[in-house]
């Protein structure tokens, strides 16, 4: 059969019995299904006698598995270990063999046992999802695939996707809660169609003919995972119509069930999902943070984290970071732990007290300030991880090489000498270049043994560390170990750790994207760059948490503690430098600080950030100079400060706010919009005195809004409160509004799982009505909304010197009497049933 070579984009890739299936998008707009082989290996570590017995037993399985003895670098142990390597001819036999081996030897240590075939394929072939490639095909088999691009390229066009959109007409509302509106089918260059749900046959036919006519690469939906696609599939089945959602006719649509789980102290609900093959289904409602960075951000994430687009649209940034670390380790031939077996190091109580801390949180004096400068460290934690080489395998460990150089201390020498658990453990560093496994890469590389010479044909580039055009990342750092401030852990600097290796290019790329965006005028091109860098920002935000997450493959609590310790030291150093330069310290929060100096100029500010950057080695930027800045007092402890609530207007009139109502996602729309309108007025104030003067306008807006509420002119959708369920509806014991609403929804036949959100409106008599089943006869409880409104108003008015009584006095006869019991009403949606 003749081979043909063509340029194409990798649209999708997934395992199948014949190997890896690739969907290629060609220049002329066609989508081709191609197949490539992908042998995959896993490893077992044990005593030699046990490995010998395992070898003998696996040989008897007769599943075409190739066995070998190998030595590879184990990150947590810091040395190469003896292994039995088991190589299966493809991803599906690999999974079967892993399952069988795990069941047979549950107590042995397994490595590379749960790798994602798409990621392995990308690393093995040196390509990435959505890459523009040159593919040589022989029939449907891939003979060669190369790309001139890397995932770190700044100039990166998205593939020429054909996107078909399916959504219900009207406002975006969850149809699983009973909302129905005609289905809208749209695609560029096609007339939009709307179809009612009362004729299922016609509806399914319309979707079918749109898919056949347009042949989309992406099916973009709103609630396609939890409602639209499952419903369409069910209707198609009932009507006996074939609905070609998949391009791959050999596969049926994959449905994954919903689940609820705890994350960071709250319950999260992940709805069921519908995965397509050969076509990509993206549900904008479940795509993680997609509203913030859109499809451009998702494409950026798929490329950078080496995960297929459908996966990226349904997993968290933590999974992305984990995938990048796995890819980095795989590329170097380091072992990827299956289940981490490294417990926390032993610590004394004092060491725990010293180390078990987070970022530094100051308490600002409540009030209204002028001419305040805010400085923010750029990606502080990831930068520190790179700078200090903080990684699971480097923290608390040194090697003979480090010791011969002697430690360099931080400014703040540890108060105790590193004691037993953190004393240098010998030979804990990765092997040096001379005996690194990569020296034998050609013989131990997965897949090479399957077809002699194929590795060479697929473009071996010698040292795999250089594959992506990055240099120096395997070079010796050559510095003595660093000692972490406060807690005194030594950190080996002989070789870069897996975490800094993963983060360094990511930090670099994000910075370059930000820089490129700044150089462009406002417009669509700049917006694309912004979205791409925001998507990367979320990876960087998560990477810190993943360092301490107990289930993270490359996490270790001591590395996490070291990061926060370095962060605290860096922030305090910034404070000290600012104070040395005559600034008054107002507030600081983990990686940002607020300072003031009468008559300070731009040149002063610039000199300050330059000195801090030089001194700490972490880049710090001027977030802005505030015309006025308010730190509202705590509601819980009157007059006390709150660390993370503030709002202010920068010199250019732009408002920045954190923690106040207009910024919180659980604030009702009526209040959010009212506060935004008030802040727009206050943004025109040039100083604190003008802020106070403009409060008159704010009170005028408030009077108008409250009058609307009083006469029932605020539509219920503006008053709907969004609340996350912490338990199934029937398990709520108190009659909280959320419980009342959840029970009412459940009674109307809606299935609700913990972690899902319900929207409800507070009604007269202490009730709460789900917004999805709102009736014209329902009556809004204006008194409770008025209290929420007053609390919002307090956020703005208290810094200007008004207390509750003074605020009420300014509202001119609109409900001047405080209602009994209202002081019990809490913020953040935690409303009692009735006043």
């Amino acid at each position: 059969m003749n081979a043909r070579s063509l340029p194409a984009w990798i649209l999708d890739l997934y395992p199948a019995p014949e190997g890896m299936v690739l969907w290629l998008k060609t220049d002329d707009g066609r989508a081709l299904r191609a197949v490539d082989e992908l042998p995959m290996s896993f490893f077992i570590a044990a005593e030699p006698s046990i490995l010998r017995a395992a070898w003998k037993e696996i040989s008897g399985w007769k599943k075409g598995l190739l066995l070998a003895r190998e030595r590879r670098f184990e990150i947590h142990r810091g040395e190469e270990i003896d292994l039995l390597s088991v190589t299966a001819p493809g991803p599906l036999p690999y999974r079967a063999a892993v399952r069988e081996a795990l069941a047979r030897w549950p107590d042995l240590a397994f490595y590379n046992a749960d790798l994602d075939p798409a990621l392995v394929y990308a690393v093995e072939r040196n390509v990435f999802p959505l890459a523009e490639c040159q593919v040589t095909l022989e029939g449907a088999r891939v003979r060669a695939i190369t790309t001139g691009r890397t995932r770190w390229d700044l100039a990166a066009e998205p593939p020429p996707f054909r996107i078909l959109t399916l959504r219900l007409t009207g406002e975006l509302r969850d149809p699983s809660h009973g909302y129905r509106a005609p289905l809208e089918i749209t695609a560029p260059g096609m007339p939009a169609q709307t179809c009612a749900w009362d004729d299922p046959r016609e509806l399914v036919e319309a979707v079918r003919s749109a898919i056949l006519a347009y042949d989309p690469d992406i099916l973009l939906t709103a609630w396609g995972d939890s409602f639209l696609l499952p419903e369409l599939i069910a209707l198609a089945r009932r009507s006996g119509i074939d609905l070609p959602l998949n391009r791959d006719a050999r596969r049926s649509v994959l449905r994954k069930g919903e689940r609820s789980y705890f994350s960071y102290g709250r319950i999260v609900h992940r709805p069921s999902s519908v995965w397509l093959f050969g076509r990509l289904h993206i549900d904008r409602q479940t795509a993680f943070l997609a509203d913030e960075y859109g499809l451009d951000g998702l494409v950026e994430l798929a490329r950078t984290t080496l995960q297929p687009l459908q996966q990226v649209a349904r997993t968290s940034s933590g999974t992305g970071i984990s995938a990048m670390q796995t890819a980095e380790a795989y590329r170097r031939g380091w072992l990827i732990p299956y289940r981490k077996r490294t417990p926390e190091d032993f610590k004394t109580a004092l060491e725990l007290v010293r180390g078990d801390k987070g970022g530094l949180t100051f308490q600002p004096e409540p009030g209204l300030y002028e001419h305040v400068l805010e400085l923010d460290f750029a990606s502080m934690y990831p930068s520190l991880m790179v700078k200090f080489n903080l990684s699971a395998e480097t923290v608390g460990r040194t090697c003979p090489k480090c010791e011969s150089r002697g430690p360099i201390g931080p400014r703040d020498r540890p108060q105790v000498a590193p004691s037993s658990p953190h004393s240098p453990s010998p030979s804990a560093c990765p092997p040096s270049d001379e005996h690194r496994w990569t020296a034998d890469a050609k013989t131990s590389r997965v897949g090479v043994c399957w077809e002699k010479g194929k590795g060479d044909e697929r473009g071996e580039k010698g040292e795999r560390g250089d594959e992506e055009g990055r240099t120096n990342d395997a070079a010796e750092l050559g510095a003595p170990p660093r000692i972490i401030p406060e807690i005194g852990y030594p950190v080996c600097q002989c070789r870069k750790g897996i975490v800094p290796l993963t983060l360094a290019p990511l930090l670099e790329k994000r910075l370059a994207l930000k820089k490129a965006a700044r150089a462009l005028p406002e417009g669509p091109e700049r917006e694309v760059l912004r979205r791409r860098q925001v998507a990367l920002k979320w990876l960087l935000v998560t990477c810190f948490g993943y360092l301490g997450y107990k289930n993270a493959r490359f996490g270790r609590i001591e590395a996490h503690e070291s990061t926060t310790a370095c962060g605290r030291d860096t922030l305090l150093r910034a404070k000290e430098i600012a104070e040395e330069r005559g600034y008054l310290f107002l507030h600081a929060l983990t990686d940002a600080l607020w300072i003031y100096k009468e008559g300070s100029t731009d040149a002063d500010h610039q000199a300050l950030v330059e000195e801090i950057g030089r001194d700490t080695g972490v880049r710090i930027d001027i977030e802005g100079l505030y015309r006025w800045l308010a730190f509202p007092p705590s509601r819980q402890y009157a007059g006390n400060p709150v660390a993370n609530r503030y709002f202010g207007a920068f010199e250019d009139g732009k408002i920045k706010m954190r923690g106040i109502e207009a910024r919180r996602h659980d604030t009702i729309r009526w209040i959010r919009e009212a506060q935004a309108e008030m802040l727009e007025v206050l943004a025109r104030a040039r100083n604190a005195a003008e802020y106070r003067a403009r409060m008159a306008e704010v009170f005028a807006i408030a009077r108008g809004k409250l009058a609307d509420l009083q006469r029932g002119a605020v539509p219920p959708r503006m008053l709907a409160i969004l609340h996350r369920l912490s338990q199934p509806p029937e398990e709520y014991r108190a009659n909280l509004p959320v419980a009342l609403a959840a029970r009412a929804l459940a009674a109307s036949g809606v299935h609700l799982a913990p972690g899902e959100s319900v929207e409800f409106v507070l009604t007269l008599g202490g009730g709460a009505r789900p917004y999805d089943i709102w009736r014209a006869t329902d009556r809004v409880d204006a008194a409770r909304y008025r209290e929420l409104f007053l609390r919002m108003l307090e956020s703005l008015a208290v810094p200007a010197g008004y207390d509750r009584a003074a605020i009420l006095a300014r509202l001119d006869g609109i409900w001047q009497d405080p209602l009994p019991g209202m002081e019990r009403v809490a913020t953040g949606g935690l409303l009692p049933a009735a006043a």
Binding site: L350, L360, F362, G545, K550, N640, P641
Partner: protein
């Protein structure tokens, strides 16, 4: 988040709660001072966290002392200015 130990913020709240019966027996005027002293300690939480002291109450007391001394220093500066008929210095927050 995922921490083993109780944070200094929680330790301060617990200390205040533990002293609830003590506070109850104080006169109303003293109760106000009790609350103000805890507010002074609360404003110095970042420093208390850096101290990492196994006995948090002594760091809480130190915060109260520093806050009180800071208020006294502010008053002293004002008295001195009044005595010498100089313009008053800006009020320092305790």
């Amino acid at each position: 988040m995922g921490r083993t130990l109780v944070s200094i913020t929680q330790q301060l709240a617990q200390a205040e709660e533990r002293l609830g019966r003590y506070r109850r027996a104080l006169t109303r005027a003293d109760q106000k001072i009790f609350d103000d002293l805890f507010a002074l300690a609360r404003r110095r939480l970042a420093a208390s966290s850096m101290a990492a002291d196994p006995l948090p109450m002594q760091i809480i007391l130190l915060g109260m002392l520093i806050g009180t001394a800071s208020a006294v220093a502010g008053l002293a500066a004002r008295v001195e200015a009044l005595e010498h008929e100089r313009p008053l210095p800006p009020r320092l927050d305790p």
